[in-house]
């Protein structure tokens, strides 16, 4: 039984902002279908009344004093940017063309 079709993989990849090429979809779709089928085993475990575990430590609301401390300069923060202008990150357009 197929859990995950080629179209599903293409759709989920776009949700994750990965523009897969056709030959990649051909390769990954079958593998992912097999993996999804396999991880589905977790549903064989009767666990309706078991609390979920998100983390190994019982930590809640770890905070630090709200004090001003040294941080990166603008130059340091921008040093790895693919594009920068006037002390800011340069980004492609974020609105539709029309």
């Amino acid at each position: 039984m197929s859990n995950l079709s080629r179209d599903d993989v293409a759709h989920v990849a776009m949700l994750a902002r990965i523009q897969l090429e056709d030959h990649e979809l051909d390769r990954l779709a079958g593998q992912l279908d097999q993996i999804v089928d396999w991880v589905g085993q977790v549903n064989e475990v009767a666990a309706a009344d078991v609390p979920p575990m998100s983390h190994p430590l019982p930590l809640v609301n770890v905070t630090r004093p709200d004090e001003v401390r040294p941080s990166l300069t603008a130059e340091q923060a921008l040093a790895n940017a693919p594009d920068a202008e006037d002390g800011r990150f340069g980004v492609p357009r974020i609105l539709d063309e029309e």
């Binding site: 989920v12 991880v39 977790v42 998100s54 190994p56 790895n80 990150f89």
Partner: protein
Amino acid sequence: MTDATTGSGTSPRDLTRLTAVRMADGLAAGEFTSVELTQAHLDRIERLNPALNAFLLVDADGALAAARAVDEARTAGEELPRLAGVPVAVKDIACTQGLTTTAGSRMLEHFVPPYDATIVTRLRDARMPILGKTNMDEFAMGSSTEHSAFGPTRNPWDLERIPGGSGGGSSAAVAAFLAPLAIGSDTGGSIRQPAAVTGTVGTKPTYGGVSRYGVIALASSLDQIGPCARTVVDAALLHEVLAGHDPLDSTSIDAPVPPVVAAATGTRDLTGLRVGVVKEISGKGFQPGVLTRFQEALDHLRALGAEIVEVSCPHFVYAMAAYYLILPSEASSNLARYDAMRYGLRVAPDGSPSAEQVMATSRDAGFGDEVKRRIILGTYALSSGYYDAYYGQAQKVRTLIADDFRAAFEQADVLVSPTAPTTAFRIGDKMEDPMAMYLNDIATIPANLAGIPGMSIPSGLADEDGLPAGIQLLAPAMEDQRLYAVGAALEARLAQEQGGPVIDRLPEVPETAPEPGRHTAAGTTQEGTA
């Protein structure tokens, strides 16, 4: 503990053959300088790294400058930390200020961090020269280091085989005497499984025991940093350098560091210790030679006074499935930061593309297959309509696995299993079959899910292929010292019974690698046919 020079026919001045303890003692006694010691490692790296590809970056100038400063401080009579002047290698997952940090990915090929990870700061505070950055599976996703965008690392025991993963660069460097110590990160076994297949020692500390500030995140509820070494006591010394509370990591435990060095150098008598063999991860599907060395190790533990009991952890059969839902889910979220806007690779399609199109094109170009598989799987597992059946259910199974450990630790003080089901496999063998690759971590994953500490030490060489096998030790959370006490006792006994440490049987490492395997060729042409 054997701490003299190892191997026959090596020059007594071959400083790279010493243990870290012996290096530290020799430096303190003035037998050699840190510059000599560091240079000896740099020379060996220069000679062997072209074949091994263990280091992605070598910082000779930085390492020698740190070594020189230590030597001067020592001459001036300054009091220095125990490992001062002993060089170390750092997995390329930890940020190093001014030194390119790639996580094995094209996405970060030119990323130069503006700050040090806390663990790197601790290495600098310990005055340890940093030799360079070690190769790894891309973003630590893998068990063979074949998923590195910069080519696979080769196992010094056999250059046609994998050194484990994701920390194969660190394990190969330590096994091949390119570094006495190295840093690893372990999300599902990435310190322990490479240690097992290279005949070295590796520890995943208790979750939260070592700071992760400045370490590139894979799965935040599983990731842990730890030491790679050739002996248990060497690992303990590095463990104590790394461990301890860090206010910059909100998941770091604010409690005293377990006394691992004291444990590693303490009694070798295990009388009264209860050792539990976990039935579910100690038999089915394991290579016979690995199991033979494991059974012998149990006999040695008995001879040291331990009582061996069988324990059952019935939910471990679901650990792999739960892990391959939890890890991809967390990774899909963590790796969302690689958006081609603030740092990392940006690839723009033709025309006047939107930010969204640039993101999608850049992420396709910057990530390798395994990273894409896991991001897509995680995105799917978290998506509306599937969350309860996949991620939610995996979290419940995780609770049951932690409960299994709790019950097991009522019957035993430490648990044991073989570390990995097989010895090192051949490069290329599992690249087309992701599921076969995943099964390498069957014995190591449960500890990450529960957050408990684990260690791998060599158990010997498997009869059928002459390659190293490992035994895994597990202890309850914040009881890391138990691993070191049992590990050191077993290590000493094995050395006595097997005629010396496993690493002494490492053959001469060739200076040239064999012809590239299938994967090497495929890995460099991502646009090739499927």
